[in-house]
Symmetry: C2
Subunit: 112 residues, 2 copies
DNA sequence: AAATCAATTCCATAATTATGGAATTGACGA
DNA sequence: TCGTCAATTCCATAATTATGGAATTGATTT
């Protein structure tokens, strides 16, 4: 995974409304949520939400599909995997991990 | 964990030089690296690196300690755990996870 | 206490990012 | 094909963030 892709993903998540939107989608699972439902849930003007959803989409974190007049968004779990794996790559140089380190988990994830 | 804390952490990581610095520290493990060693490794002016290290410290992602004239930085693995757990909280509403979802891993982490 | 070295803070400039009302695009039902 | 609804794009304004040279702070050696 490219550093640039990772930075876009992190930047996309580093914003109050986008973080809230992403988490709502993570929790919604495969069914996803419409833009309208998200705007309602987050109490945001449509144009603002649309801007934020575009950022998340551009960063590859969420996926858009059309259903009638609505656009349905859902989280891309594969992208999340990649993001976390990248952050933990070669954690502790592969050894001497502190007890609270998560290297073992990141390795598990990288294998998958 | 607070949303605001998470946003600061993500924002701190969403920058080329800070992401590189953080990863170098993750890979360095508990020994850490001095500011000078990092500046050398990343080919950055001291003042710029200092600015970025302050952001990472403020976000709680890295820890500073003094060793003689040098300041040694190291990654805070606990903060990373918290960050990832937060992003995956209630993933898929606890059920129906897609095959590529990482819910099981995030639960494992939340328990720890 | 003076010289030196590591690193930070200060500061002005440059660049990027967020906001929301108004206009527009695309899809559906009568 | 007209009216309506869902959502996006446009755009000007406001706010935040990055950069690096020069000055400063703190710690060490002689």
């Amino acid at each position: 995974m490219q550093a640039d892709t990772i930075i876009r993903a992190l930047g996309a998540l580093a914003q109050e409304h986008r973080l809230a939107a992403f988490r709502a989608l993570v929790q919604a699972g495969a069914d996803g949520l419409s833009a309208g439902a998200l705007a309602e849930a987050l109490q945001l003007p449509n144009s603002s939400l649309s801007f934020h959803l575009a950022q998340l989409t551009n960063a590859g974190l969420i996926i858009q599909r059309r259903q009638g007049r609505s656009l349905i968004y859902s989280a891309d779990y594969g992208a999340m995997n990649g993001l976390m794996g990248y952050l933990m790559e070669n954690c502790c140089a592969g050894a001497n991990c502190a007890p609270d380190a998560i290297c073992s988990i990141s390795e598990e994830r990288n294998v998958a």
